[in-house]
């Protein structure tokens, strides 16, 4: 018997080992992890102050040691960062780069769609963002409808042609909501709800009431002991809404005016939903005490305003007012242009409101990480965190700062000294050689107005 038992145990062990090897292999094969020693930098940790003449050792894609006089293990590349500044990789909580579609505008509620299905690893904007020190983006659904699709948190691992490689592993699920002019314009053009901010609230309340009913049906089904019970209809749209009710999905809501921001807090308070970040939120400063009390966060522009009526009463002091009132605030781009100098956008809070260096840097590192629920992985330079790092010539809050190297998981994806001009991964053979495009602002605000035009066009065709 013993032989048999030993054999059985061995089989079991081999099985477990194989599973472990296999899963481990899959996880490691997906993305590259780097080892590197960055020597003698001024390290802006964001959480633990500024460390001068300090080395950061990266092993297997993680920050393994921070200190002075560290030695590189055998075969590990050493980078002399004397006179340079090392900061955590910049995180953009509102972006539409690396996406081949932005809006699913066929309904005012499309919680069944996922941006994870439309990731475009070929977008050269990814490289340009890396060249601005950005390592992660929140690839958001657009703002055409009240409840949009699920968004995807990305790591900018440019060079892979596999969309899966860009996904930030195990980042929490997030979803896009939208209030105000964009969704109501869609409703008005078709003469249906929502044509007003009242209608937006009604649609939100109706959707979550439906989701509660859906959940109750499924709960009753699961509790039913009858072997001949019949399952309720499965509805992915409702499943996602239930996940929001249960706190499994973080809500990021496009919003501008203070009244609509306040309205959503009331709706969420009634349905017991707490995980909420406002996107754009140009008038969040007017209800900053309420946001702080609710625990809602805000991801804002440094100074964009006046492009539509609902941002006319904006102030560039928004981020400062929110920060001083205790609201976790980030500064985002929503633009393939701005994303390249978010460090400069963050610095504007020192002109408009005297934020400290650490507060200003938090706006583009730790705070967006908190808003995406990835603050245990990225957003500061600490031992154990992912080695997503940006190296600058000059202090990153100076207008003269030049990003020189960007690392994701310890792998260098941008190096200004060895920069090749043409960074396209794929060249369309049918494309004109001199394909000149003068981008205007509308091209850059991908989630704002252009998409709504297409949304209207979609329905005007169906009249």
């Amino acid at each position: 018997m013993t032989d048999n038992k030993i054999l059985n145990d061995m089989k079991k062990n081999i099985f477990v080992l194989t599973i472990m090897l296999f899963t481990g292999f899959v996880a490691n094969a997906q993305v590259k992890k780097g080892d590197v020693l960055i020597k003698n930098a001024t390290v802006l940790t964001v959480t633990k102050g500024t460390l001068t003449n300090t080395d950061v050792l990266v092993s297997g894609g993680k920050i393994s040691r921070i200190g002075k006089g560290l030695n590189a293990p055998n075969g590990v590349q050493e980078i002399d960062a004397t006179g340079k500044f090392l900061m955590p990789g910049i995180i953009d909580a509102h972006s539409h780069i690396a996406l081949s579609a932005v809006n699913e505008g066929t309904s005012q509620v499309t919680s069944e769609v996922q941006m994870g299905d439309v990731i475009d690893p070929f977008d050269v904007s990814i490289y340009r963002a890396l060249a601005g020190g950005v390592t992660s983006t929140h690839a958001l659904h657009g703002s055409a409808n009240v409840i949009g699709g699920e968004s995807e948190t990305l790591k900018l691992r440019y060079g892979s042609t596999n969309p899966e490689d860009l996904k930030f592993e195990n980042a929490p699920r997030t979803i896009k909501f939208a209030l105000g002019e964009n969704p109501t314009r869609g409703g008005r053009s078709r003469g249906i709800q929502p044509s007003s901010r009242m209608g937006v609230e009604a649609m939100l309340r109706n959707s979550f009431t439906d989701a509660q009913a859906y959940r109750a049906k499924w709960n009753a089904y699961k509790a039913d002991k009858n072997p001949r019970k019949i399952a309720p209809e499965y509805d992915l749209r409702m499943e996602t809404l239930v996940d929001i009710l249960e706190g499994r999905v973080l809500v990021h809501c496009h919003s501008y005016r203070a009244d609509e921001i306040y309205m959503l807090m009331k709706v969420f308070a009634d349905f017991g939903i707490t995980k909420l970040t406002y996107q754009h939120a140009n008038e969040a400063y007017k209800v900053a005490p309420e946001l702080a009390e609710f625990g809602a966060m805000a991801s804002v522009f440094a100074d964009w305003w006046a492009y539509k009526l609902e941002v006319y009463y904006s102030t560039a002091y928004n981020a400062t007012i929110l920060t001083r009132n205790g609201v976790t605030t980030s500064i985002n781009s929503d633009s393939g242009e701005l994303i390249r100098h978010l460090f400069h956008e963050a610095a504007k809070t020192q002109k408009y409101g005297d934020l400290t260096d650490e507060e200003a840097l938090s706006l583009i590192t730790l705070n967006p990480a908190k808003q995406l629920g990835i603050e245990n992985r990225v957003g500061s330079i600490e031992v154990g965190k992912d080695a997503d790092l940006a190296l600058f010539e000059g202090h990153p809050l100076s207008v003269y700062a030049i990003p020189v190297m960007t690392f994701v998981d310890g792998v260098k994806y941008f190096d200004r000294a060895n920069d090749i001009k043409d960074q396209r991964i794929y060249v369309n053979p049918e494309q004109a050689v001199e394909n000149v495009t003068i981008f205007n602002r509308e091209d850059q605000h991908r989630c704002m107005d252009t998409e709504v035009v297409s949304f209207e066009a979609l329905f005007s065709n169906n009249k």
Binding site: T315, R324, E337, K348, A401, T437, I438, Q444
Partner: protein, 441 residues
């Protein structure tokens, strides 16, 4: 007697009340005689004066230097530890012509028709645009405000960012705007085939040439008695005669070369290229033609997917080094306040601080044709200056005083007033507010 007593009470109370209402006091600009002392003065044209004094009298820079005698009746502003610069000039904006971008009724920079050069931007400038104080408190004192759209959309004007009528704001120069036919793909042309694009360019060039042929003819026969009223052609005549500048918006390298040939063939002497996104590709040719440029926005995406990520940042520097006279613009409306940052990026990516400063002061003034009035700190020039806590390109630097036309501008704007009101809101959050009463599931 009782009545007199009442009047006395009122006479005492009214000023007291108004002191109590300080927050609501209207802040107005004021002119007069000012002495700005102990400052580091960046004249732009005559070097830097350490510990200098700038004397402003009746709208004009009366004296500047290290040993300026301060008149007894001048209001002294101690600028110890601070710097003084000529007011920044943005050579390409729609400021005053557009209040809210998405609302058609709030936009006045585009007229219907392709050929409307007689349309006057200055007539549509709203002196009370909310964007104007937002801009000037950041040290931008003067802008070129220009019509857009079509082929010849109108006549642009240089305006100072203070004044109660467009004419009070007018800074002394105008110019004709022309959008050079674009072979590039941008915007609504994106879906056209190369053949369709080429045809569209040909058509547009014909429209352009017809108009200028007529203008040249008009210039010849003007005053002969046979001339009919033809305002759109008449508007072009000053360009033909060289008394007004023509600003040609052109971006693709190929189009820039075509535009340079066109200028040469026409023989127009007073021409500026604007936008010039791909100027770096043909910088030598632009320099050779001795045509100045207004470049920008500097914070912009490269024009081709295959271009280096920093092509737009480096564009002004490359053109400057090739020998082109460069001014920098934002091309913006409500965020013209970011002009120093566009210049700062150009400085960082090869232009250097000194040249980048020129690109938004003296070079801009020369290109816009107002350098006899503004663009540097020189005796006799208009007092368009600002005082800063340091390098105005640096993001954290604060602008503490702004003078436009010799008027000391109140350092306020809608955005600053909102900050003052909402930083510590009263009342704050209420305990029983329904937005914070989370119902447990």
């Amino acid at each position: 007697m009782k009545r007199v007593f009442q009047l006395i009470i009122i006479a005492i109370m009214v000023p007291l009340l108004s002191f109590g209402q300080e927050d609501d006091q209207v802040m107005k600009a004021r002119g007069g005689k000012f002495a700005l002392t102990n400052a580091k003065i960046y004249t732009v044209t005559n070097g830097i004066i350490e510990n200098g004094t700038l004397l402003i009298n009746n709208g004009i820079i009366e004296a500047v230097g290290a040993n300026v005698k301060i008149p007894a009746d001048a209001e002294v502003i101690d600028c110890k530890g601070k710097e003084i610069y000529p007011g920044m000039i943005d050579s390409g904006t729609k400021l005053g012509l557009s209040e809210i971008e998405s609302i058609a009724e709030a936009n006045d920079f585009s007229e219907s028709g392709d050929l409307t050069p007689q349309m006057q931007a200055l007539s549509a400038v709203n002196p009370n645009s909310v964007s104007i104080p937002v801009t000037r408190v950041s040290g931008v004192t003067t802008v070129w405000t220009a019509p857009a759209g079509g082929v010849l959309p109108g006549t642009a004007a240089t305006i100072n960012l203070f004044g109660y009528t467009p004419d009070q704001m007018f800074a002394g120069s105008k110019g004709i705007i022309m959008n050079f036919p674009s072979s590039g793909g941008g915007g609504r042309f994106r879906r056209r085939s190369p053949e369709e694009q080429a045809k569209a360019v040909e058509r547009a060039l014909k429209t352009v040439n017809d108009a200028w042929d007529k203008a040249e003819l008009y210039a010849k026969i003007e005053g002969s008695g046979d001339v009919r009223d033809y305002p759109e052609i008449e508007a072009l005549v000053p360009v033909v005669k060289g008394s007004m500048a023509l600003f040609i918006e052109v971006n693709a390298a190929k189009d820039i070369l075509t535009a340079l040939e066109w200028i040469k063939k026409r023989g127009y002497k007073n021409v500026v290229l604007t936008g010039v996104a791909e100027g770096w590709r043909v910088a030598d040719k632009i320099a050779e033609a001795k045509v100045p440029v207004v470049a920008g926005p500097v914070q912009a995406i490269p024009t081709r997917d295959s271009d280096a990520y920093d092509a737009a940042y480096a564009n002004p520097a490359i053109m400057h080094k090739a020998g082109v006279k460069v001014a920098i613009r934002t091309g913006d409306t409500e965020n013209v306040r970011n002009l120093p940052y566009h210049a700062g990026f150009a400085a960082a990516y090869g232009m250097g601080k000194e040249e980048a400063l020129k690109a938004i002061t003296i070079n801009a003034a020369q290109i816009l044709g107002v350098s006899d009035q503004i663009g540097s700190i020189e005796v006799g020039k208009k007092a368009n200056v600002f005082v800063s806590t340091g390098d105005p390109f640096e993001t954290a630097t604060k602008i503490t005083n702004v003078f436009i036309d010799g008027y000391l501008i109140p350092m306020t704007s809608q955005q600053i007033r909102l900050y003052d009101e909402f930083l510590n809101r009263t009342p704050g959050v209420k305990k029983n507010d329904p937005a914070i009463q989370i119902k447990k599931k």
